[in-house]
């Protein structure tokens, strides 16, 4: 019911916008502050608080290191680092852990020297791993309270309309990242949002990924990231015959799954085999005159090509994987930027993952119970990211995991995954170069595969083939120290990662 309204008498003196003082103020007033230090001071950041970052600059990111160096110089301690993910380029965080600047990390993944150091027990508190949807939900529900979000962006106007590209200022496209999906949730919920940009463009910077209403301070910096580390020109289709074989088998499964109908929706996870599935679906789509209604997720060149050929009507983009995808977001009307919450939050029943028919996902390991590990390598060391794996597997009607039976001498179909990330209950089909396995709980899929004369194997059978060739690997030695808590997308603890013993 509406509130009962009472009215005061109108007074023209109250129209402040026409006062001389206000006009001067408006011209001068923008959110740009002189330095990062000044912006940090203005937020009131204190020891023990939570800072956040996005990972749209992937391995070309310079923002995290720049901000942490600055915070270190300012004497901060005991900060909680919540980044949507961290990469090889974030090695300097090791020194910030040693100095006490960073005491806990919350991320989708870890790679490179930082991951190695954490696996060897450098931190007292375990890293918390979350899926992209899980992170969005944690932010929305106040499990993660972001005190200051530091968001690097390729373009921003003086009031804070920020984007991963610019439609009218080509200078800003030198360092382009496309979608700002993961940053959007941070900007929306953070108590303070500082934008760091190397290109301040005239107001209004439309279209924008982050609206000015969510931005408190803007800092102009010379360098936000290295374009060559952020994205390649176009993710090329793999030429690896093993990956192509897996992709072709996966396409056969999809085409014959019953979910391949006119108007279907699909997501291709990162990884050579996964991305190559598109090229094997295309002829069947043309032949049957099928169009996909939408493609979701990390968007790459192959999906953009299908979109531009009219085979996929709409693209929902939480993260643009290559230059072609970023430019498509800039130029194509039906290529839409979406937030992490819109993409995959379990608190959001309308999340795009729940509208998804088919997802193709990569894996480091799959076990005989269809459980998937995308976080730790065969040596027990952290070397991956949960990403949207758990979210899309749970949401999609058909979750296909593509994985080679062996990587070198390492069996990728194992008896028990090293680290449980995506539970087998949400995985429908596993496709390897040696055969296809369907989750026994999916009776309908098994039946339709049999009707279409697609040979199905037991994952135990595939495991046996693998270890016959490789031998049984020696078990990894761990200490008792927990270095990582792996959460499921609903915020529950699904597994722990222990320190490796050398």
């Amino acid at each position: 019911m509406n509130k009962k309204q009472t009215f005061k008498a109108f007074n023209p003196e109250n129209i402040e916008t026409k006062n001389e003082a206000y006009i001067t103020h408006r011209v001068e007033n923008n959110k740009i502050v002189e330095s990062l230090e000044e912006a940090i001071k203005a937020t009131g950041l204190k020891d023990g608080m939570t800072i956040s970052f996005h990972h749209h600059f992937r391995n070309g990111d310079h923002t995290v290191n720049l901000v942490l160096d600055t915070l270190n110089k300012m004497g901060y301690k005991d900060l909680y680092l919540a980044s949507s993910s961290l990469n090889v380029c974030h090695e300097p965080i090791i020194s910030h852990i040693k100095s006490g600047l960073i005491t806990q990390i919350d991320t989708s993944g870890l790679r490179g020297p930082l991951a190695d150091a954490i696996s060897h027990g450098i931190m007292d508190k375990p890293v918390i791993f979350r899926s992209h949807g899980g992170r969005a939900a944690a932010i929305e529900s106040g499990v993660i309270v972001i005190d200051v979000a530091f968001l690097g962006v390729p373009s921003c106007d003086p009031l804070g309309n920020a984007n991963g590209y610019s439609r009218d200022d080509e200078r800003a496209n030198d360092v382009i990242c496309g979608s700002l999906g993961y940053a959007k949730s941070d900007a929306e919920y953070a108590k303070n949002t500082i934008i760091l940009s190397n290109h301040i463009v005239p107001y209004p910077n439309t279209p924008f990924g982050i609206p000015e209403s969510q931005v408190d301070y803007i800092v102009e910096v010379d360098d936000i990231g290295d374009p060559s580390g952020i994205m390649s020109g176009a993710t090329r289709f793999t030429t690896n015959p093993k990956e192509l074989l897996i992709a072709e088998k996966a396409a056969t499964v999809i085409i014959n799954s019953g979910f391949f109908i006119n108007g279907f929706s699909i997501q291709f996870g990162s990884g050579g085999a996964s991305l190559a599935v598109a090229q094997f679906l295309k002829p069947a789509m043309i032949e049957r005159k099928y169009k996909a209604r939408f493609a979701l997720g990390g968007i790459s060149a192959s999906v953009v090509e299908l979109h531009e050929e009219g085979l996929i009507e709409k693209l929902l983009d939480v993260q643009s994987f290559d230059l072609k995808a970023a430019n498509s977001l800039k130029n194509n009307r039906f290529h839409q930027q979406i937030s992490a919450s819109y993409y995959a939050s379990p608190l959001n029943l309308g999340a795009a993952v729940n509208q998804l028919d088919i997802v193709v996902l990569s894996a480091l390991e799959v076990d005989i119970n269809f459980n998937v590990n995308v976080l730790t390598g065969a040596d027990g060391i952290i070397r991956g990211a949960i990403g949207g794996h758990q979210d899309t597997a749970a949401g999609a009607r058909l979750a296909v995991v593509v994985v080679p039976l062996l990587r070198g001498r390492i069996p990728c179909v194992v008896d028990k995954v090293n680290t449980l990330v995506t539970p087998g209950k949400s995985v429908d089909v596993v496709v390897t170069d040696y055969g296809i396995a369907v989750n026994p709980a999916r009776k309908k899929i098994i039946k339709i595969m049999e009707e279409n004369h697609i040979k199905i194997m037991d994952l135990k059978e595939l495991y046996n083939i693998a270890v016959t060739m490789t031998g049984i690997p020696k078990a990894i030695a761990y200490t008792d120290k927990v270095v990582g808590n792996v959460t499921y997308r609903d915020g529950t603890l699904i597994d722990k990662i222990y320190q490796v013993k050398d």
């Binding site: 040596d379 990587r407 070198g408 390492i410 031998g471 020696k474």
Partner: protein, 98 residues
């Protein structure tokens, strides 16, 4: 069989192993550098030792840089290295004809 000269076999490609064999004066020595040391290091050393014994080689220094090769590949590369390191007379041996 006697190792008389140094020889190399294999590559540094993924799933391959590069094996160098040369004469030793203090019995068989194996120097292994493997990307899968943690999981398969012991197994690889055992495979190399067994193969050396099969050829009755007792004084060889074997250097192996392994990029995740399967056992069958390790044995094949080692056999090739042995073949090129032994005398012409030994090359006629039955073990190389199998």
């Amino acid at each position: 069989m006697e190792v008389t000269k140094q020889s190399v076999s294999g590559t540094l490609e993924s799933s391959d192993i590069m094996i160098t064999i040369e004469k030793s004066t203090i019995g068989n020595q194996i120097e292994l550098n493997s990307t899968v040391e943690k999981q398969f290091g012991d197994s690889i050393r055992k495979t190399i030792n067994t193969t050396l014994r099969e050829f009755e080689i007792n004084n060889a220094k074997v250097g192996a840089i392994d990029k995740g090769a399967l056992d069958c590949i390790i044995i094949a590369r080692l056999k090739a290295a042995i073949y090129h390191s032994v005398s012409d007379e030994d090359k006629q041996s039955e073990v190389f004809k199998a």
